[in-house]
């Protein structure tokens, strides 16, 4: 398993298996996210990345294995209970409430809190991160652009004052420029607030630059894990996730090498 002091571990999954009906989406996933770091799970379509996040946040109950958060088992707890314990999930495709205003969306994120002053302060803080949301605060969230909705979804998660944010494909459907902006803010949130982040991404290049530690998921199993600066240099990562390959003597190559994951 990954090195490091176990006391720092904020989230730990042990042998987690989850299924959709008879189809096993993740098979025996064990991973750790340490306090204050950005961890990432890379994988192609259907590898089971989102399933991991759904299993952590309680949207999906695992058929096997345990999820530990801050040293306590949160396996298959009610999602609301998990949010109260300090774990927020930014789902794939944003899932903002389209008919509520931006501000109301943010307040929905603070649903489990009762400190109104704190909530007001946090709204100010997220407006600091994403000034466009302040401008649009009275508008229906459904009228925002994709990038703005992503900003709103992240902000909504922050409103729960989480210690850990599960971030599912923030780059989905966004322009490269916007993706870059969003990632910069994600890193800023991590550095400034100390919020731990578990990031799931198909955009391996962005994720490996933003994160500290990475796992590679294929067919529901982790096939590789390491610090991101190490992963970036691995041959299989370069060829299959970063699209950097030697073109060979002919100057072009369409065949794929075999993955070895070492």
């Amino acid at each position: 398993m990954s090195a490091g002091n176990d006391k720092d571990v904020l989230l730990a999954l042990a042998n987690v298996e989850s299924s959709y009906g008879p189809i096993k989406a993740i098979r025996g996933v064990s991973l750790k996210v340490r306090q204050g770091e950005i961890a990432t799970v890379l994988g192609s379509n259907g590898a089971g990345k989102s399933t991991i996040l759904k299993t952590i946040s309680g949207v999906l109950d695992p058929t096997r294995g345990t999820v530990m958060f801050k040293g306590e088992a949160i396996t298959a707890l009610d999602p609301a209970e998990i949010v109260k314990r300090g774990l927020a999930h930014v789902p794939e495709g944003r899932e903002v409430f389209p008919l509520l205003s931006v501000k109301d969306n943010l307040l929905m994120g603070a649903y489990t809190r009762s400190d109104r002053d704190g909530v007001a302060r946090d709204i100010e803080q997220v407006f600091g991160y994403f000034p466009i949301l302040r401008e649009r605060q009275a508008q229906d969230a459904g009228l925002l652009s994709g990038g703005q909705q992503q900003m709103l979804a992240i902000s909504r998660a922050l409103m729960a004052q989480p210690e850990l944010i599960l971030l599912d494909e923030p780059s989905l459907g966004l322009s490269p420029k916007l993706t870059k902006e969003i990632f910069e803010i994600v890193v800023r949130i991590n550095r400034e607030r100390g919020t731990t982040i578990l990031l799931v991404e198909q955009n391996a290049n962005m994720a490996l630059n933003a994160a500290d530690y990475g796992y590679v998921l294929e067919n529901g199993r982790i096939v590789m894990e390491d610090a991101c600066e190490v992963l970036r240099e691995k041959e299989d990562i370069r060829e299959f996730y970063l699209g950097m390959k030697e073109t060979g003597v002919r100057g072009e190559r369409r065949w794929k090498k075999k993955k070895t994951w070492r």
Binding site: S30, I222, E225, G248, W255
Partner: protein, 626 residues
């Protein structure tokens, strides 16, 4: 030292006699079959997911065109072509075409690197090179400056290469086009070239995966192949009908699939079905349901573990039904092994088990119609043979090598002995030398190593081939292998140890793929173990052992304990000096492309010793410190 020598042993099985064949070269056999069978199906391969069939006559046309195409480019009898491709229809076409034109065909493993391809092309003196696709072509292009004797490279699949403008590279279709023109100009070409070959002429070159040094090219003549073929109908296929479906998937560069998948299929008038790629073997097997299935032990184990895992995930009722049915099958198997017949009640129960459960399992794995199930190239566990017997599949074992054109021994149907490789095939003479080595004499023994007269002289002495295998023979004429001659370890205490004997016992564990025992000039024995990833991962997952990648699986203390226990189990069967005191797991997942593995996925002993020297030293210093 007492002499281990035996007299000359030949087959004692009635009916195991050499057949008189009406041909004396491989292409003559093929063209005879084309004449006889015409529109019957010779081979199938999938195009975009749909099986495409080729009749004998169609293959005849294609082979004629390819051969004539080579001739139009200057191909002369006795010249060599190399084929660098996965097992596929074009491989067989190219082989038959080159031989039909009087040439010699050499195979290169598709997993070989560019520099290995360069060595094989240069050493064999290949004038033409057939490659499968752009991936394999790139290997040639990387080393082409150093291969001036290669005149043209022919690509089977031109996808992605249409823009390539290289006068030295042509597609297979373009070659056939040239061939058609050549055939029009010289209609008698085929007959003339067929007549140019005699039995003592070279047919194929097979490079043996040298565990030390460069690979050696074994020269195999038409006479060798025909001799091996003359032994098959009466022994290997004793009482079996001609024809039937086959699945070919092992590399055709290896003598086993070349003989059994290609030449024996032609001899037996079978239909060859090529798998889509090495990953789809089991799906294709289910689709084809072959009558003959030859595979290496790894594949037979894989079939078993697939069933075991499926049963584990099945419902309680299915699990009980499977356990009951296998129990019935095993009882029938035991009786058969003891040579007794089951009673009527037992027969009825077995019939029920077959109908309700076992036949479904057989269909699921694709072996429902199998008449000849054959394993070879590595030892197989007796338990595994019993499991197949319980399914009603008598798994037979063959022993042979490149240098014997695949011929050697085979277990007779219904008369196998556990742990034995069977009796000598028709025409084969075997004896044990004074040092305990198995020696072979027969018309199937090869003509020597290309360009290596000294190596040839070391291998064939006074007409006897030194197989390098150490073994014994029992009073019924059954042979048993204990080790490879050069693998014998002499410990610091002066004790001779046969490592494979121990390794093979450990390999029978479902959790171990391969192992290498170490201990030459050492105080005690140790070993490096390569785990079976699927089975160990499943085991770990069932027991909530945490792991992520392959390395972390190997490093899990529970896994080390599991393998330790497997080693202890094997140790019990051996004397103290032969026991393993320390072991380490190989933490890297090895694939066929890695130099540590032979093409048949066995660990190369000497290379492992070199490459993992630090790990090995660690085992000895750790023990000393303890």
């Amino acid at each position: 030292m007492t002499s281990l020598a035996s007299p000359i042993i030949t087959s004692r099985r009635p009916g195991w006699v050499v057949e008189q064949l009406p041909f004396d070269t491989v292409p003559k056999l093929f063209w005879q079959r084309v004449q006889e069978l015409g529109s019957a199906t010779m081979m199938r391969q999938k195009d975009l997911g749909i099986w495409k069939a080729y009749s004998w006559a169609e293959v005849g046309d294609i082979v004629g065109e390819i051969g004539a195409g080579l001739v139009s480019l200057g191909f002369e009898p006795g010249q060599v072509v190399s084929v660098l491709a996965n097992t596929c229809r074009e491989w067989v076409w190219a082989d038959l075409a080159a031989q039909s034109m009087g040439g010699v065909c050499n195979g290169i493993y598709p997993t070989d690197s560019a520099s290995q391809c360069e060595y094989l092309c240069a050493d064999s003196g290949s004038v033409f090179l057939f490659v499968e696709d752009d991936e394999q072509l790139d290997k040639y292009l990387e080393v082409r400056e150093r291969l001036p004797q290669v005149r043209k490279v022919i690509v089977f699949d031109m996808e992605g290469l249409h823009k390539l403008d290289d006068p030295q590279v042509i597609g297979l279709d373009a070659l056939r086009e040239l061939g058609r023109a050549q055939l029009k100009a010289t209609p008698g070409l085929l007959q003339q070239r067929l007549a140019s070959r005699r039995p003592q002429d070279l047919a194929v070159l097979v490079y043996t995966s040298g565990t030390t040094g460069k690979p050696k090219g074994a020269m195999i003549t038409h006479g060798n192949i025909c001799a091996a073929l003359a032994a098959t109908n009466n022994a290997l296929f004793e009482n079996l009908p001609m024809g039937g479906e086959r699945v070919a998937f092992l590399p055709l560069c290896h003598i086993a699939e070349r003989m059994i998948g290609e030449y024996v299929s032609i001899l037996r008038k079978s239909t060859i079905n090529f798998v889509e790629n090495p990953e789809t073997v089991f799906e294709n097997l289910r689709e084809v349901q072959p009558a003959v299935f030859f595979a290496v032990p790894r594949v037979w184990e894989k079939v078993f573990s697939t069933v075991a895992i499926t049963i584990k995930e099945a419902g309680r009722f299915q699990q009980l039904a499977y356990a009951w049915a296998l129990g019935e099958g095993a009882r029938i198997g035991q009786l058969a092994e003891a040579g007794r017949r089951p009673g009527p009640l037992q027969q009825l129960r077995y019939w029920l088990a077959r109908t309700l459960v076992i036949n479904n399992v057989r269909r699921m794995v694709g072996l429902d119609k199998v008449q000849l199930a054959l394993t070879g190239a590595a030892p197989i566990s007796p338990e595994l043979i019993r499991w197949y017997l319980a399914l009603g599949i008598p798994l037979r074992e063959g022993w042979g090598m490149t240098e014997t054109t695949g011929g050697g021994t085979v277990t007779p149907i219904g008369a196998g002995k556990p742990g034995s490789i069977g009796q000598p095939g028709p025409g084969v003479e075997l004896r044990i030398s004074e040092q305990g080595e198995i020696l072979m004499r027969g018309p199937n023994v090869f003509a020597g190593y290309l360009n290596l007269p000294e190596k040839t002289a070391e291998t064939i002495v006074d007409g006897w081939l030194h197989t390098g295998d150490v073994g014994r023979v029992d009073e019924d004429g059954y042979f048993y292998i204990t080790d490879r001659m050069k693998d014998i370890i002499i410990t610091a205490g002066g004790k001779n140890i046969t490592p494979s004997e121990w390794e093979n016992q450990l390999k029978f564990s479902p959790y171990v793929t391969d192992a290498v025992v170490i201990g030459d000039k050492r105080a005690y024995l140790s070993c490096l173990v390569m785990i079976d990833e699927d089975n160990v991962a499943q085991w770990a997952q069932d027991r909530d052992v945490q792991f992520s990648d392959f390395r972390s699986l190997c490093r899990a203390p529970e896994v080390a304990k599991l393998i330790g226990e497997e080693i202890e189990k094997v140790n019990k069967a051996f004397a103290r000096v032969e026991q393993i005191k320390q072991f380490r797991l190989i933490e890297q997942r090895l694939t066929a492309e890695d130099e540590e593995l032979t093409p048949t996925m066995k660990l190369k002993r000497s290379l492992i010793n070199q490459k993992y020297a630090a790990l090995i030293e660690d085992m000895y210093s750790a023990k000393a410190a303890a």
